[in-house]
Symmetry: C2
Subunit: 167 residues, 2 copies
DNA sequence: ACGTTTTTGCAACACCGTTGCAACTACGGC
DNA sequence: GCCGTAGTTGCAACGGTGTTGCAAAAACGT
């Protein structure tokens, strides 16, 4: 058997074994892909990419594996979509991310000011803010420049027309 | 015809008329409900509540109306769910909200510190942060106290067991 | 190599939201 | 008040997404 080619795949394999899981050819392919992805991908996209790379795997298996990895805390789900991305650190619990609404690329960051602001919100509202549930959406520098960087993501309301001659 | 009983319904009716829409009995019932809801509700829940109140309306119509209202900017969609809530002001464009992960109640707030933090993030990442896409999730004071305040909302990963005798 | 346990693929299913179409209804004009 | 036009509704059918039952296949410890 081959060795994991990236840091995430290695870490994930260890975690899987520790929890009694097994390392199959398809699972490894998925881990490699997840570890090398440059943007959050959903199960469907992961599956398509795996097929494109020559792996023979069923969509259901991708779903099951992604769920398992989420449960193990190895993946992070982009808020408001089915896309996932690997958690940077083994115990990543407080990262924030900003996702480009145009190209979908995610960038993680750490902001002292944001931490402070969250404390303020916590105090003001009495809420206990839960970890890693904060996510921003915006346009990344690249996509701000070029309009070329397109991609449909519209989870927004179906924009039913009003007053249009809707037959 | 009756007069709208709450501020939101009134505002929504005006906006709908302005855009060439018409005010039907069912639409009005939905607006009344939306204007009086204490927590974000999804189309399904809205529909159920409308039936419970004696209105006879099809689920499809609820979907269409909610979409229309979203398109008009009268409703705001909770990130990561299908639930909606009325925008407080007619032109609300920069409110932030914190949603309780237990009971679903939403509370809007305004935070100077958060504004400042967002500026910092903007500078640091080069992203243009888009409006009203930031949303926090946490436990509200009530739900922190009592465990009684329950409600299923789990859009989280199906938590497929690993190494369990999955049979 | 063998037996046990997990993983996989397939098919079927459940759920959510959307769309085509015919019937209905609001509303402006007379 | 009645009419005609144009927006709205309900129904049924559809498409997409994610889940589950089950038998075959594969991984891993011995």
């Amino acid at each position: 058997m081959e060795e994991p080619s990236n840091e995430f795949a290695l870490r994930a394999e260890q975690a899987l074994r520790r929890s009694g899981g097994r390392i199959t050819r398809r699972r490894r392919a998925l881990l490699e892909l997840l570890g090398s992805q440059r943007t959050p991908l959903g199960p469907r996209q992961l599956h398509r990419e795996l097929l494109r790379r020559g792996a023979r795997i069923d969509l259901v298996s991708v779903y099951r594996n992604v769920s398992a990895l989420l449960a193990l805390g190895l993946l992070h789900r982009v808020v408001g979509s089915s896309a996932v991305r690997p958690c940077r650190e083994a115990r990543a619990r407080c990262h924030h991310a900003i996702v480009c609404s145009a190209c979908g690329r995610a960038r993680e960051f750490h902001s002292r000011a944001l931490e402070r602001a969250l404390s303020e919100v916590r105090r003001a509202t009495g809420f206990r803010v839960e970890e890693h549930v904060l996510e921003l959406r915006g346009r990344c520098p690249r996509c701000r420049r070029s309009r070329l960087c397109r991609r449909r993501q519209s989870r927004s309301g179906g924009a039913r027309s009003i007053g249009g001659s809707g037959r």
